[in-house]
């Protein structure tokens, strides 16, 4: 598990009380770990934590439901692509 994924997984555990393993490729909405509010909270946490700025249009299920896709978006922002 890379650094960003571990930080995000820790945030989810703290915020939701979920104690189990979090697979980066697992759809966290589908399994009920996150809901429509908490996925956006997670994205806002990622903005502050990793110093990136998302666009409202980027905060969609495809980017937020899995840690792997959220981390990919963070890295894309950090590298300056798509901004």
């Amino acid at each position: 598990m890379n650094d960003e994924t571990a930080v995000l997984a820790n945030y989810i555990r703290t915020e939701t009380g979920y104690a189990g393993d979090i697979d980066p490729d697992e759809d966290l909405l589908k399994v009920g770990i996150l809901d429509s509010f908490s996925i956006v909270s997670l994205a806002m946490f990622a903005q502050e934590q990793f110093g990136v700025e998302f666009e409202g249009e980027e905060l969609v299920r495809e980017n937020l439901a899995k840690l792997s896709t959220l981390v990919a978006l963070i890295r894309q922002k950090q590298s300056g692509a798509g901004t």
Binding site: D35, S36, F37, I39, V40, E55, G56, L59, V60
Partner: protein, 249 residues
Amino acid sequence: MRFEYLQNLWRRAIGPFKEFGAIAGALYAADQVLRRLSPKIGIYVYELMVQPIGGKKLLPANLAKNLTFAEIGRGDPAVDLMPARPDIKSARFDQGAICLGVFRGEKLIGYAWFCFNVYEEDEVRCTYALAVPDQSVFDFDFYILPEHRMGIGFLAVWHGANEYLRSRNIRYTFSRLTRFNVASRRAHAHLGWKCVGKALFFQAWRVELMLATLAPFIFLSWSGKSRPRLQLWPDKLIARGVGRADDMR
């Protein structure tokens, strides 16, 4: 084959109890049975909630920058995008309700309706009266268009609603949540909602029996002319010191 059938039947039977708890599960099961007997019989279970309108913005500036908030008036094309029946939407405008739409560019993301002073419930016969009308509203039919769910939609509409209400010095918004809408209950729990009362309505053709934790507690209605009036106080929030003037800054 028979075992699987029985297993499915068992899962369906205990599902509501697992999801809603013993009492609400039993009411849900009873409602389902009654509705099969006749569509004119049913049970509605509501939780009456209050939410503080705080000073903190729900979305940071970069996420809110392309959003606009505007009242949607009668005849606006956006009204046609709302799934409620035309006569229901018309009745809402007739009772003075305001519909606030949240847009990204020209596109409607979602909306919420608000009533000042009183709200005439359109699912059952009941009037909700706000005990502190100069500081409260009643919100209903909070709706996110399907393509904006599981994204920024929910927070965007609440962000807009908070801005709109705060500019009118509103500190509390009341609502009624259907007890069986688990997703809505979970999402709203994040916003600091508190339950101020519960109400159950048993509907059978023209007769409606209300049982509530708020006065008048029990009410039997035979026609649209008689409706129970539930007064809603924001006590639960005031007791916790939420929503006072200093929270509005």
